[in-house]
């Protein structure tokens, strides 16, 4: 490596480091967490080893039972054991009491354990529980990713849909994308004329109008969402005004509805649509529309055939940005939406903070990332102007 290339490497090193720390590491960790399966192996090391020899047909032999009881009796960190219990209970409801019961009774159990354990709880005399333990003694699992798609792996290894009561994630993803699409549509419909109007202003008026767009942009999303919460609530100014003017006689439910979510999200995201559009519109000289007029195009033709196609890169850039941001929205739907208006990130937060199931949180995040990526790729194909921006 000569001096110049060493210098080049040195110069890009901070950027590379930032990329690794800020991008590769978190994404890699998330992807890993979504398939990571350490709990069973950590809490039951001997059982894991013994189950490795087992064919999976019928019941395991005494060695496995003995290893299991020995694992239960060995002095253990409660956190590790708690992890095991949570992990198995997530796979099969009821496992919490079964495992905890076995642990409490382990001291008094007599060999052969293949008889005393089933005597304690008949579950231990059935192959399913051992198959469950064997499946999850593998350090990697597809459970979380499958569950994020409302699927699970049956005991025989085939992939089947989960019980209808448990199937919530497909609908959740669908809802997330439908809300995001509508938000994008509203943002384009409102942002286009606004950006056009801004692009016609000059001097002081331009600066002032741009400030009006930018000021909300500088205020935190939390504050803006909270403001909507206050405005839209039952005792809020909108209801008060409607009551006072006699339009309605009882306060209407505006907050915790889908329209409230759209309203607040569009407001928060509108600058992301307006600013790229404005940048594109500012660069289009009036000559193009004038040329169209001189060539015989009526005003609507001037717009549809010349101005609109020329501003498409701005529409596309803004729409993709709004779409991507709204897919990951959290605080606004939480504040102004009802339970049926929550999006994927609500459940990611739930699994991270409330149920402490990082695997599920990671799987949802990963799936959201993949679906959003696919959506952007699809958008780039459908919207012709997306990569044409520099040519206008």
């Amino acid at each position: 490596m000569d001096r110049n290339s060493r210098l080049a490497v040195l110069l890009v090193a901070p950027l590379l480091l930032l990329m690794i720390v800020g991008f590769v590491l978190p994404l890699g960790t998330t992807a890993f967490k979504a398939v990571d399966n350490p709990e069973v192996t950590a809490a039951l090391p001997r059982t894991t080893a013994a189950l490795g020899q087992w064919s999976g047909d019928g019941l395991p032999d005494e060695a496995v039972y003995a290893a299991f009881v020995e694992d239960l009796l060995s002095p253990q960190d409660n956190r590790v054991f708690g992890g095991l219990v949570r992990r198995l209970n997530f796979e099969q409801t009821g496992m919490r009491s079964i495992i905890s019961g076995a642990r409490r009774a382990a001291e008094g159990l007599q060999a052969p354990y293949s008889e005393s354990l089933p005597a304690l709880n008949a579950v231990w005399g059935e192959p399913e529980v051992w198959q469950l333990l064997q499946t999850h003694s593998n350090p990697y699992t597809a459970t979380y990713l499958l569950r994020a798609m409302d699927l699970r792996m049956a005991a025989d290894g085939s992939i089947i849909p989960v019980d209808p009561q448990q199937a919530i994630f497909r609908e959740l993803f669908l809802r997330t994308f439908i809300i995001s699409l509508w938000v994008t549509v509203f943002a384009v419909l409102l942002g286009y004329p606004t950006a056009w109007f801004l692009s016609t202003l000059r001097g002081r008026a331009e600066g002032l109008a741009l400030l009006c767009v930018l000021v909300p942009f500088w205020i935190s999303i939390l504050v803006r969402s909270t403001a909507w919460f206050i405005v839209l609530q039952r005792e809020g100014p909108i209801n008060a005004a409607l009551l006072a003017t006699g339009v309605i006689d009882t306060p209407q439910a505006i907050i915790f509805t889908r329209p409230a979510v759209y309203l607040a999200m569009v407001h928060v995201l509108l600058p992301f649509q307006i600013l790229p559009l404005l940048a594109v519109m500012k660069r289009i000289r009036p000559d193009y529309v004038r040329a169209a007029a001189s060539l015989g195009a009526r005003p609507w033709q001037q717009f549809l055939l010349v101005y609109l196609p020329m501003t498409m890169p701005g529409v596309a850039a803004g729409a993709v940005m709004v779409l991507m941001l709204s897919v990951g929205f959290y605080i606004t739907p939480v504040l102004v939406g009802g339970l049926r208006d929550q999006m994927v990130s609500y459940y990611i937060a739930y699994f991270t903070n409330t149920s402490i199931n990082l695997g599920m949180a990671a799987a949802l995040s990963l799936l959201l990332l993949i679906l959003t990526g696919l959506l952007v790729v699809a958008a780039a194909r459908v919207l012709p102007g997306l990569n044409l921006g520099a040519r206008v």
Binding site: R285, D287, Y288, R290, A291, A292, A293, S294, L295, G296, A297, R298, P299, Q301, Q302, L305, V306, P309, M310, M312, G385, L388, R391, V392
Partner: protein, 369 residues
Amino acid sequence: MTDAAPDPALVRFDGVQKSYDGILRVVKDLHLGIAEGEFLTLLGPSGSGKTTTLMMLAGFETPTAGNILFARQRINDMPTYRRNFGMVFQNYALFPHMTVAENLAFPLRMHRFAKSEIPGRVERALDMIRLGAVADRRPAQLSGGQQQRVALARALVFEPRMVLMDEPLGALDKQLREHMQLEIRELHERLGLTMLYVTHDQTEAMTMSDRIAIFDDGRIQQVGPPDRVYDHPENAFVARFMGENNALPARVEARDGARLRLRCPAGSQLVALCCPEGLPDGGDAQVLVRPEQVTLGEATENCLRGIVADVIYQGDHLRVVVDVPAIGRLSARLPKAARPDCPSPGAEVAVHFAPEAALAFPAEDAVET
């Protein structure tokens, strides 16, 4: 020189004024006729009102006062798309999202040409500008000259009633510009179209125009064929804007028919023709002489002495700059053949020019060129 356009003209500006703020008039009381088939150039410095005049004819601006007539019909408020004028813009304004062929088909589609006819017309237009090979390219993939030709073809392809051009060659380099001037001139002769051309380049105006209208300060200073405005400028602005001029300060002493006798500050006597607007006896004047009219050597009339400041070889001619005491620098344009006898810088020389080649204008008419 009066307006030579045969009346009724195709286009007539009748007392047209334009003001954007209600106070400052960009175009002041414009009277101008354009004959059918004529190539008329609006020439002037920036801010002289020439582009605004074109924009009003195109329909992008509305006159504040006066009328614009096309074929004796008032078109002040007619929308651009109904005027049926082809227009070429300074930056071409080719639609970047359409191919060359689509750009050319656009006006045909807008004017509802039969669908079956459009491809043939586009092809003929491409042949006319010799760009058939790039029909499927986007404008951004063409050179400046190619874009210019496409813009020209697009303004002609739908057989407009006239063609307006707003400094269409401004963005091209000098050689290409000169080539395109000839090409546009040839197109005009071949198609017999009425053309209105705006430029600030007097050479360009001289090359192409049947007539030139020289604008300054919102008014037409003079209209006429190129030779007329060059050889017989009606005022000092036109004289100095069209080509080069030496300006010699002098005072009117006597008159002899159309000729004036003037005296320079240093005492030398000059004889010059009087400008059309006339000069009072004893009035301060400036005598304008073109460099190509100045020759070296002694003479009985209009002879000035000075010191050669510089001799510049310019390929097709020599330029000799002479410092004349109390008058200033005088530039003479000499044929290349004069080179061997040419004095070197520092030498004392005499220069002279014919009285017929010198025009005296009022001195107040100080103009920046």
